[in-house]
Amino acid sequence: MIYLDHAATSWPKPPGVAAAMADFLATAGGNPGRSGHRLSIAAGRIVYDVREALAEWFGVADPMRVLFAANGTHALNVAIQGLLRPGQRVVTGGMEHNSVMRPLRHLQQQGVRVDVVPAAADGSLAPADFAVALHRGADLVVVNHASNVTGTIADVAAIARPAHAAGALLLVDAAQTAGVLPIDLRALGVDLLAFTGHKGLLGPPGTGGLVLADGFDRTRLEPLMRGGTGSGSEHEYQPADLPDRHESGTPNGVGIAGLGAGLAWLRERGLGAVREHELQLCRRLREGLAAIPGVRLFGPLEAESCVAVVSFVLEGRSVGEVGHRLDEQHSVLCRVGLHCAPAAHRSIGTFPAGTVRLAPGPFVTMAQIDTVVAAVAEIASS
């Protein structure tokens, strides 16, 4: 079996991930922050250590500015719904996932003004277009750091400048880049960054979070949910302190323990080494696919402009048929269709049929890529 669906969720995970999760249940099963006994404290320590590791990973000095969430979608909703009010204006790009577009379209119905800067056919966004769109001022800019459809990486730092000049905050959807590209909030000029734990960071499903830059005024973010935090229990109002203000309810300690192990594996292996490996896989994959008659590839030509996502269509075949045959006849697992991103597929001209998406991860080998290319060639010629 060849798993090429890392953009949906990474698999397999490093062995330490399952071990850390089993260990959490066996030895630290208390409810972090709710009680003063040793199991509660043990659970709290694990959650805190991962919070601190993530703060360091994303270039944030204060670990309390890492807010855990159930996944990338939840983190994006904490940010988008927590920041925007009727009458305000948000500018976003043409490669967004529905985890951004659906909250934005919902808020549009409540009186938030939503403007979309179009993307080019290869999924790229021109910072100059953002500058033009931002001339009229805005409250928030939301941009997908890398497309889950074409892999195209957005120049976040170049979008941050006009965003800040217009008085807007910058929220980045790092679902496809956390654990894949180096991310330093300060260096990129990002105010809020939503990440998912179960893709590039190699953690389990049910993990993710929102990172607030050290300079971000935290009073601007209203909580999405309110409830028990284990702190300030004498008050019936939501506490103001981070991270508790945005973390009501028992956290996913098991998942967070696994996420910590995924991150530890990445640090040990080195982000650069993993990235280099994936670049080599993607170059080979793109070259192999490009040589097959009837294949149409999407996204930029240079692998360096992309994360490890390669989208294509095969002339005369539905994407469903290609995906099904890859699975049934060649044991190649991938995802076809719209990838929860109709806006991105409109931008690259593949709406509504979508594409076949091949997304290799750190454990995929060159030999497996050759097998996949041969499989697509076989489907194309039969």
């Binding site: 922050g33 284990g230 702190s231 300030g232």
Partner: protein, 75 residues
Amino acid sequence: MKHGVVLFHTTSAALRAEKLTVRAGLDVKLVPTPRELSSDCGIALRFAWGEAARVANVLAAGAVEHEVHPMPEQG
């Protein structure tokens, strides 16, 4: 020995404080917050009262919001 206790607004702050003080070589222990002291958070950091100034310095340097109290007498 006389002890002091540090109170925090959040558990995350208490855990951060534990890490920072241990790293600074202080002898501390996370304990349930004494009921006599009103606190926002269920755990507190116990320390030897003679180290109160050092504890406060380490926590201030780490930007951890906190309150220092003498440990109430055990009744």
